[in-house]
């Protein structure tokens, strides 16, 4: 593949067509529609938000209507990594490795306050938001979020996917950790892990 032609989505397709036109937009529609409507989740469920996800997957709220009922506990056949629950530092390398082992195209949904920002666990043991470790597409707030909230997050991801294009070179790029093993710059991690709101005033050792 010529370096300039190695774009997102279909490598071969983008090599043939280098500017957006009717064909690429039809292809985009087709590819995005099929991706958005069969997002097979990779469940990464450390804690309580998993229970809300289980409720979402069950018959009352039903993610099967989104094509997502097939939760394979393997990253190899998954499209979206759903991280539901607080992530301790000890679990962080496994999350990173599972994300790395998912083939493209892949997206990430962070369910709940703890996965998005560390939640109430602003402590020595918890990662303050998984976006310090992997790139996140949709953050769903809540502790835990209602199933309706999780479904709304899934629909937001579908909307995001439908806005993608196979000609976009910034998509489908593996964002690997740098040589020090970090995914984000240290300054960025510190900045986004800053205590805020209640966690600043509730503890004496803060």
């Amino acid at each position: 593949m010529k370096p300039g032609a190695a774009a997102a989505g279909g490598d071969a397709a983008a090599g043939l067509i280098s500017s957006p036109n009717w064909i690429t937009s039809r292809l985009d529609d087709l590819v995005n529609w099929s991706r958005a409507n069969s997002l097979w989740p990779m469940p990464f469920f450390p804690a309580c938000c998993a229970i809300e996800f289980m409720a979402t997957a069950a018959s009352r709220y039903d993610i099967s209507r989104f094509g997502m009922e097939r939760l394979g506990y393997t990253p190899r056949q998954a499209d979206v990594l759903i991280c539901a629950g607080r992530v301790p530092f000890k679990l962080a390398p496994m999350l990173r490795r599972i994300w790395d082992q998912m083939p493209q195209p892949k997206w990430c949904i962070s369910v709940g306050a703890c996965a998005s920002s560390g939640g109430i666990f602003d402590t020595y043991a918890m990662v303050q938001g998984i976006d310090a470790i992997i790139p996140v597409d949709v953050y769903i707030p809540g502790c835990p979020p209602r199933p309706e909230g999780i479904l709304y997050g899934i629909m937001l991801l579908q909307k995001k996917i439908k806005g993608e294009s196979i000609l976009d070179p910034t998509l489908r790029v593996e964002q690997l950790p740098d040589e020090r093993g970090m995914f984000l710059r240290p300054a960025a991690v510190d900045e986004q892990s800053e205590p805020f709101g209640n966690s600043v005033h509730q503890t004496r050792s803060a």
């Binding site: 190899r76 390398p93 593996e174």
Partner: protein, 124 residues
């Protein structure tokens, strides 16, 4: 006589074409971004250690091999069953056909009894 096989041929062509199309088109349109960690075996998020080559019981092999043998026996019985009434073996008519198949089955029954007595049918 061969005309009855034409639908089969059409089905075969269709199967080959659709399988090739599915594999070929997804290879063409896939985003392939191999990395070092991605190529390693999946072991629940930890770096793989040890080997996946474990020893396992020979009983699985025995079941498979015995199945093949007796399944082929049944396969041989099928055309015999279909043409049974038209058979005329050794001048005895259907009785000849029956005896012929009985001879075949008896050979296999001897083998079956041997397998049974040797304990190859025991799962535990």
């Amino acid at each position: 006589m061969l005309e009855s096989y034409v639908p089969l041929l059409m089905l075969m062509v269709l199967v080959i074409v659709s399988a090739a199309a599915m594999v070929g088109l997804s290879h063409l349109f896939s985003a392939s971004r191999p990395t070092a960690v991605k190529s390693q075996p999946y072991e629940s998020g930890i770096p793989p250690f040890g080997t996946a080559r474990e020893r396992f019981d020979v009983k699985f092999y025995l079941v498979a091999v015995l199945f093949i043998v007796f399944d082929i026996e049944v396969v041989f019985m099928m055309p015999w069953a279909v043409t049974f009434r038209q058979l005329d073996i050794l001048g005895l008519g259907v009785l000849g056909g029956l005896l012929e198949m009985a001879a075949f089955v008896v050979v296999l029954v001897v083998g079956y009894v041997y397998v049974w007595k040797r304990g190859a049918l025991e799962w535990t």
